[in-house]
């Protein structure tokens, strides 16, 4: 039984046909890496999964909930789907701890004591137990991204979407964020990552999805896809980035 099931999605931005019949099934606990050139529709696909973008045709079901263009349903859906962004999007006027506590308090109605304890626990988990009271602008990019991950986890999502979450980081900070993702995988979290980290996709990911011109061009188990890409597009993409 798939946790995320995407069936023949079509997405247009005006005249621009961005997703042209995308299918994707993600099992619980699976780590899926979406790779492909810039503009191939990776972000758009991810943003359709949690309803940040509406799609025009096809169907997406996440955790038995249909993803529809309906504000109330999308709010319910957002409890099952977490998202981490390339540029963190932390709330600048709140401390790391407050960033993590906000949604559990407002959305789940947790009392301050519970959400505070939970936030502390999550920050410790991402290696930032001592940064509860730090403001985002006093944290490094890698630290900010780990806070953002903790903030998503606070809502106990079933699946975590990550859109190039290491792309805005200095190279030496990438590792600490990827380590958190590895740890999440080990705990059984379902991850869908748009990434340029090919080594990570190959070594940690279960499945690779290569997107090209708005379609899933090629997909399969990570080791196989990287060892023997079938299409010439993927072959040239891999040789260009590795």
């Amino acid at each position: 039984m798939s946790l995320v099931s995407i069936d023949q999605i079509h997405k247009y931005y005006g005249e621009n046909h961005v997703l042209k019949g995308v299918d994707l099934k993600v099992a619980p606990g699976e780590v899926v890496s979406i790779i492909g050139r810039s503009g191939s529709g990776k972000s758009t696909l991810l943003r359709c999964i949690n309803g940040l973008e509406a799609y025009q045709q096809g169907a997406i079901v996440v955790d038995s909930q249909a993803v529809e263009d309906d504000e109330y349903k999308l709010r319910l859906l957002s409890r099952s789907v977490g998202m981490v962004f390339q540029n963190f999007n932390l709330f600048p006027h709140m401390t790391a701890g407050e960033n993590v506590m906000l949604a559990p308090k407002l959305v789940l109605g947790q009392d301050s004591k519970t959400s505070r304890a939970h936030a502390q626990e999550l920050l410790e988990k991402v290696g930032l137990g001592d940064k509860f009271d730090a403001y985002p602008n006093n944290l490094s990019g890698g630290q900010q991204q780990r806070v953002a991950i903790a903030r998503s986890l606070a809502m106990s999502p079933k699946v975590l979407l990550c859109d190039e979450i290491t792309s805005a980081l200095d190279p030496e900070l990438v590792g600490e964020v990827l380590k958190v993702l590895e740890q999440l995988k080990a705990e059984g979290m379902t991850l869908i990552l748009v990434t340029h980290e090919m080594n990570f996709a190959r070594d940690v990911g279960d499945t690779v999805v290569f997107m090209h011109q708005g379609k899933v061009w090629e997909t399969g188990p990570s080791d196989e896809v990287f060892a023997s890409p079938q299409t010439s597009e993927l072959q040239s993409f891999i040789s260009a980035v590795l």
């Binding site: 949690n50 940040l52 504000e71 999308l74 709010r75 319910l76 957002s78 409890r79 789907v81 977490g82 998202m83 962004f85 540029n87 999007n89 932390l90 709330f91 600048p92 006027h93 709140m94 401390t95 906000l102 949604a103 407002l106 959305v107 403001y135 602008n137 953002a148 903030r151 998503s152 809502m155």
Partner: protein, 222 residues
């Protein structure tokens, strides 16, 4: 130029000046509070997903920003009674100031909101917050902080502009000055004293806002 300053001639009118200062402070405190509240609601209205709300707030803002304050005041005080709405000078002056600050601060706060990165809304949405929660908890506080200096200046402009309400015989500071001047003919002294008093009020206001900022904005450098 051999004018003999005669401030002691104003001494008998100190009670009037004191009452005037107090009235100006009271007008300013209340209109600052209500005006900023109105501006915040206005900024939300200008940002509403309903077009009617956006248009209505837009009209309000443009009407107020493109007409003289004194005409707004006279309209409220002398014009509205024609519609059966009779207001005291105090009520009319207060309403004029609140409505005026409301319009200007709507535009100022809106500019702060417009500068919010789209990712802030998206982060709130993916965490399951409602539009309203995102607006109040995530968008508004940094927006307010961004435009705080402009808001402070606007509030001071409104305080200084309150001099105009002396025209409907509201007994604030300028009214006291006019009164003392007309009795003593010490025009120079009356208005010099009044100017200094407004200056002191304005500086005090700036200080108070700076003090409030320290409490309001826990992260001083967003």
């Amino acid at each position: 130029m051999s004018y003999q300053l005669n401030f002691s001639g104003l001494l008998p009118y100190l009670p009037q000046f004191a009452a005037g200062i107090w009235a100006t402070i009271e007008l300013t405190l209340i209109s600052t509070f209500l005006g900023l509240l109105l501006g915040t609601i206005g900024a939300a209205g200008r940002n509403s997903r309903y077009r009617v709300a956006r248009t209505l707030w837009g009209c309000y803002v443009e009407i107020i920003r493109n007409t003289p304050f004194i005409v707004q005041l006279f309209f409220i005080f002398f014009g509205l009674p024609a519609l059966g709405l009779k207001l005291s000078a105090w009520q009319a002056g207060m309403i004029a100031m609140v409505v005026n600050l409301g319009a200007y601060s709507t535009e100022i706060i809106r500019a702060g909101i417009d500068a919010t990165p789209k990712g802030q809304w998206e982060a709130g949405k993916t965490l399951g917050l409602s539009r309203r929660q995102i607006f109040i908890r995530i968008v508004l506080p940094p927006a307010f902080q961004r435009v705080y200096p402009a808001l402070v200046s606007q509030c001071i402009i409104v305080m200084l502009g309150s001099a105009v309400v002396s025209q409907i015989s509201l007994e604030e500071l300028t009214f006291a000055a006019n009164f003392a001047q007309s009795r003593t003919f010490l025009s120079f002294e009356s208005y010099l004293l009044t100017a200094v008093l407004y200056l002191v009020l304005a500086l005090l206001m700036r200080q108070s806002f700076a003090f409030a900022a320290k409490r309001l904005f826990k992260n001083p450098s967003l």
